[in-house]
């Protein structure tokens, strides 16, 4: 995976408002671990339809942090999961871990 997370989108959205930026990052820091945990729970219990819904939700945050290839991976993985195919799991989990580490630096 060559992509790394960035704050370009969030900063553009904030239009200079540090308060907005911090508040939004705070919400993401709170939501993201829960969404990841729910995905892992459903994935490990082979509840792939529910896991696909979790991927759908996570897709937004993947896009927010500037992942382009990663966003496409999430789209493909969501579709795969709907037919119980899991070949993109490792690729997808790397994206989530990358965001997780990035959030810890903010």
């Amino acid at each position: 995976m060559n992509e790394t997370p960035n704050l370009i989108y969030i900063k553009e959205l904030a239009a200079g408002s540090e308060a907005f930026e911090q508040k939004l990052i705070g919400i993401v820091k709170r939501e993201f671990p829960d969404e990841k945990d729910e995905f892992l729970k459903n994935y490990t219990s082979k509840a792939y339809t529910k896991a696909a819904e979790n991927v759908h939700k996570l897709k937004h945050k993947i896009g927010m942090f500037g992942f382009e290839e990663g966003y496409q991976t999430a789209i493909d993985f969501e579709e795969e999961l709907k037919s119980s195919n899991t070949s993109l799991y490792s690729k997808f989990i790397l994206i989530l871990e990358s965001i997780e580490h990035f959030l810890k630096t903010l």
């Binding site: 239009a15 508040k23 919400i27 939501e31 819904e53 897709k59 937004h60 896009g63 927010m64």
Partner: protein, 243 residues
């Protein structure tokens, strides 16, 4: 326009709030994490516009719309392009935004909502003719279809140099060809991305990426010298990347 936001993701609600805060005409009354709470609210209050997430647990955005007797204008927000076709079965849906939503795309959606409101209030639906069919999904943002002699011709939007009003017609000048279409400058403007195009005069919209040079009250685009009105000049200057 009074509006509400319905999305189960708090991040998404906050982003839409922030985008709305950048448009004077929008007043966000409430936001809701689910459709049920929104339905209760709408039983008591009226709104002009709803930002609605389609993909919510238990009660989808389409389920929600089906509960409304007289739905207001709705802009769908989602991370899924697959719902686009279903969306166009609903007259109340004016646009479809794919997350993460950018400001230019958001502004375009608001323009569509505003023009849809105008059409309703003036009962001028006949005026919304199909000379310039709208772009129907985010994947087609770079395309504009024009109706010439009953043929729909696709124009790649970034290749447009300028558009000039000519009475009941507009002249669309692209890099390679010119087209005369029965339409108004206002209608054309609504179909173009706001980050790329700017109305610099009551009769001209220009592609700001195509500017060769600027003199006091005019810009040069290809071989055309286009007048810039005094009131539009500050916005033009603001858009330029100047040293």
């Amino acid at each position: 326009m009074n509006c509400i936001i319905i999305d189960d993701e708090e991040t998404a609600r906050m982003i839409i709030q922030q985008l709305c805060s950048q448009v004077d005409e929008l007043n966000v009354i409430e936001d809701f994490p689910n459709a049920i709470q929104a339905i209760k609210f709408l039983n008591k209050e009226e709104v002009d516009l709803i930002f609605l997430d389609i993909h919510m647990p238990d009660f989808t955005g389409f389920d929600f719309i089906d509960t409304l007797k007289n739905p207001p204008k709705i802009i769908l927000t989602t991370s899924d392009k697959n719902f686009a076709l279903e969306a166009f079965e609903y007259e109340c849906i004016v646009d479809y935004l794919v997350k993460p939503i950018t400001l230019p795309r958001f502004l375009k959606a608001i323009q569509k909502a505003e023009s849809a409101t105008t059409v309703t209030t003036t009962e001028a639906s006949a005026e919304t003719s199909t000379e310039l069919p709208s772009n129907t999904s985010s994947s087609e943002e770079n395309e504009l279809y024009i109706n010439i002699d009953r043929r729909l011709i696709k124009i790649n939007i970034p290749t447009i140099n300028l558009i000039e009003a000519k009475g009941d017609y507009v002249l669309i000048k692209t890099e390679k060809q010119n087209y005369t279409v029965h339409s108004t400058l206002k209608k054309v403007e609504e179909k173009l991305p706001t980050d790329l195009f700017l109305k610099v005069h009551r009769s001209y919209i220009i592609n700001i990426k195509k500017i060769i040079d600027i003199e006091d009250n005019s810009v040069l685009i290809a071989k055309d010298v286009i007048p810039v009105s005094r009131s539009n000049r500050p916005e033009l200057m603001k858009r330029l990347n100047m040293l």
